[in-house]
């Protein structure tokens, strides 16, 4: 199983490199989909069906939306600027990150043995305290319901923001009418007043 996980990880890394390097936007989107579905299989193998379902379904929706968005825009090739400084600095930082990650991973506990006792308590008492047999939902909507509400608020705010940004033409005329009603001074009114002085 470890070997299979390793193969999947390498597959995902190759997919993400292709997604960055390719010049065709459509194949880039498909490579991102490869990474997402590989991640979904990894979640499934590690015993997290909840996250696997969510990952897979969101990946499908995002693929559809991205393909729809990339096909309608005719921007297929992106100009590339070769920049030696950014390349060298990113390589240096990546090397530093690898060294420190190596040091940090040495001190981590083995996989599956957690340092925090709270998660063990959640696992043991979730069924009797919340009544939900799905522990993930029990944690999300009972122990940590406040967090879930924050997440819902983030989703709500992002939807409102997307609605405002994606409207291609602002309601300029409406706003002018509104300012007339309320009596906010326009630039011309201010100029007129200024001439009067």
């Amino acid at each position: 199983m470890d070997l299979f996980l390793l193969i999947l990880m390498i597959f995902m890394i190759v997919g993400s490199v292709i997604a960055i390097e390719t010049k065709n936007l459509l194949s880039s989107v498909i490579s991102v989909g490869v990474v997402g579905f590989g991640l979904s299989i990894v979640f499934l193998m590690l015993g997290a069906p909840d996250i696997a379902i969510t990952q897979m379904v969101v990946e499908i929706l995002i693929l559809v939306i991205l393909i729809r968005a990339t096909i309608t825009t005719d921007n297929t090739a992106i100009e590339r600027h070769a920049d030696t400084f950014s390349l060298v600095s990113s390589l240096v930082f990546f090397g530093l990150f690898l060294i420190f990650a190596f040091l940090a991973v040495h001190d981590l506990r083995p996989f599956g043995e957690l340092l925090m006792r709270v998660s063990q308590t959640y696992l043991e008492t979730s069924a009797e305290k919340t009544g939900a047999t799905n522990v993930v939902t029990g944690i999300l909507l009972d122990f940590r319901a406040y967090d879930t509400m924050g997440e819902a608020t983030v989703l709500f705010t992002s939807i409102v923001g997307a609605f405002v940004i994606l409207r291609r033409r602002g309601r300029k005329h409406k706003r002018e009418r509104d300012t007339e009603k309320v009596g906010i001074l326009q630039d011309e009114d201010i100029k007129k007043d200024f001439k009067g002085f």
Binding site: V136, D142, A152, A162, F163, L166, R168, H173
Partner: protein, 160 residues
């Protein structure tokens, strides 16, 4: 109402008749599966978010196969907006109702019998609220990204 829907369904908008036929069969299954994931979120893997995304995928298939007219007739952008807001509000109200017993998000209903549909108190209700919210908001994002720009600027031109 039904005649107009039939007319739209048989018009040339959307994809070919093969896709339309398959989509007509698949739609019901997708909606039922999404509703199952939402309703049984406290028993089996899944929950409000995953089920809501599946339901939104159903609406996306409807839009892609039959064109925007039928999809906007089933769930208009106004309706999606109202559904989104009411889902968020319902979630908040369920949380606030916990104050009747003491604190925010108290599981004030009985726990019931394990592994049954009506168990776990407020958790299924929260799942349903989140499911409605996620369905509406993701479908709204889809229509915003694909057809909303033309749609709304057309409306503004009409006003002028």
């Amino acid at each position: 109402m039904g005649d107009i829907e039939k007319e739209i369904r048989e018009s040339k908008a959307g994809m070919t008749s093969i896709v339309k036929t398959i989509a007509r069969f698949a739609m019901g299954i997708i909606i039922i599966f999404g509703a199952y994931i939402v309703l049984y979120g406290h028993v089996t893997p899944g929950g409000g978010f995953a089920g809501g995304v599946i339901l939104a995928c159903g609406y996306v298939i409807l839009t892609l196969a039959f064109g925007k007219d039928l999809a906007l007739r089933k769930l208009s952008d106004q309706g999606a907006s109202i559904m989104d807001n009411s889902g968020a509000l319902a979630f908040l109200v369920i949380g606030l109702l916990g104050f009747t017993g003491g604190y925010f998000f108290l599981n004030f209903l009985g726990h019931g019998e394990r592994f049954s549909l009506f168990s776990a108190g407020i958790i299924p209700l929260c799942n349903i609220a989140i499911g409605f919210k996620v369905t509406a908001s993701l479908f709204a994002i889809f229509i915003a990204l694909s057809i909303f720009g033309k749609f709304v600027s057309g409306l503004v031109e009409d006003e002028e």
